[in-house]
Symmetry: C2
Subunit: 334 residues, 2 copies
Amino acid sequence: MGYCTGKTFRYDRASIQCYAAVVGKAENEGPYGGEFDEVIDDNRGGADTWEQAEAQFQKKAVGHVLRKSGLSPENIGVMFAGDLLNQCVSSSYGLKDYYIPFLGIYGACSTFAEGLLLSGAMVNAGYVDNAIAVTSSHFSSAERQFRFPLNYGGVRPPTAQWTATASGAALVASTGKPPFIRAATVGKIEDMGVTDVNNMGAAMAGAAYDTLSRHFTHMGSHPQDYDLIITGDLGLVGSELLHDLFKRDGVDIEKNHKDCGLMLFDRATQDVHAGGSGCGCSASMMCGHFLKRIESGELDRVLFCATGALMSTTMVQQGGSIPGIAHAVELTSY
Amino acid sequence: MGYCTGKTFRYDRASIQCYAAVVGKAENEGPYGGEFDEVIDDNRGGADTWEQAEAQFQKKAVGHVLRKSGLSPENIGVMFAGDLLNQCVSSSYGLKDYYIPFLGIYGACSTFAEGLLLSGAMVNAGYVDNAIAVTSSHFSSAERQFRFPLNYGGVRPPTAQWTATASGAALVASTGKPPFIRAATVGKIEDMGVTDVNNMGAAMAGAAYDTLSRHFTHMGSHPQDYDLIITGDLGLVGSELLHDLFKRDGVDIEKNHKDCGLMLFDRATQDVHAGGSGCGCSASMMCGHFLKRIESGELDRVLFCATGALMSTTMVQQGGSIPGIAHAVELTSY
């Protein structure tokens, strides 16, 4: 060891006041179809390009959050946003018209957890009355940027994941009502030496293991204390790796572990290989499905750990590996 | 109006404990040569590629900060880092070996101010004992990514700025000693409709005007209350625009305004056109030059407003404009 274990931040007055998810057609055809606030059937969403379409997903997700909260943009204290596109443009272009104080974040697919963690910190400390965390991803814009032009028709190996076309947004405030954000652990960059852009799950599993382990230690908790441990988009390969890493410590997290990447799509009927991925994958599963269940008390204590592969085509082309990161946010109904 | 004016956060126990700047050869040949902690003469810095070299700049800047503070990586609470490269890879690759809890941020050239703002917030609220803010830029990696391959030898118009090859890092803690971080204002995305990737200054001036104006209003302060108002990298074109925008309000900020982009290089003898730019420009000027003068009391009250052009080649190629953002951090010797 000797490494920094960091700290798990504790919050006693941060709640998620409202939340919304906007997804694409395939996402709404998955097992949780019907749970999302809006479905955009055309993957261009009426825009000229995929990047502009992705920006619209974020704009709409924040629009739904504002509508549900009854607040207008000038009532929002700060917004944390980021995405996978170069220079996080779906956030900056999608959100610029709201004129809300804006802090750009980058955590690849861990971005939604990073946004919740920072929104919770700022609200809990009283710097702002409320804060929005929002992110997105888009299959077409991500594939073009990170892998191949879509019309090249490249064959995707079984370890590849399918970038979700989706956005999720949450408004954090001191409402005194669930879902509460009780604690959060900042991830460290973990490099497992993975160089395959089609094996993101393996690149992220070590980071998830590290963050979850530190969170349990700091909280004095055990995996079985949680109704669910929800990872972002480890997919099939990354989830199995995570289970194995914990098994070495004699800890079984498999029983109450779920991965948004394995939930958003039906792997048996939708051709997504090792599962879904992308910032929008866990953001839409949290904002479409899980937060409702924490709010209602169906789930009492949940640990949400979103994982990100900090990959760049430039570094991969130079032979670099793909470092991973994972941030954890503990959510409760009480 | 009707827009969100946000809030200016006040801090009463956030100081910059130590800071360091690492720059390239041209930066050290400028007017402030000799003030930086380390100079890397070869723009590859012993690495194989420019991107890997830029990562080394960040690693070294943080190394100097750790050395000066006498702390080891496991004593650092959290690190905020980001840069201009796609997926902020000079941060993730440069800093991964420290294993410090890592929160990636993206504010283009406003990143160092965003990092100071968030580090100050987290330390001031007591979430962590200390936090590092770090960023970098590199002429060669940025030109290749955003404009042309260097060996293409494209002609740079007079409005173009020269991306600094530099990194700056600061450690924020509750030391009770100057430089103090007293207040901070989060920027909003402002789109002035600029579409020219060689005119970043114009794209950012509106954002600087908005953030500075809100900061003055919230603090009940006036430009003349500050020894200096330091912008990041507006350069010649952006600085003149900023002065003009304030003149419309009958406010003269020209007298005590300085721009790091106009300081880092000698425009008369170094071929940098409208001035320096890049995340590393203001970070190295702050960590090499200004923070020392606040620490010594030579400067008592300074408003640092770093500006960022949220540009992406993809959006510019699609005809999109370049939105700007600016975050302000108030630093004092008392």
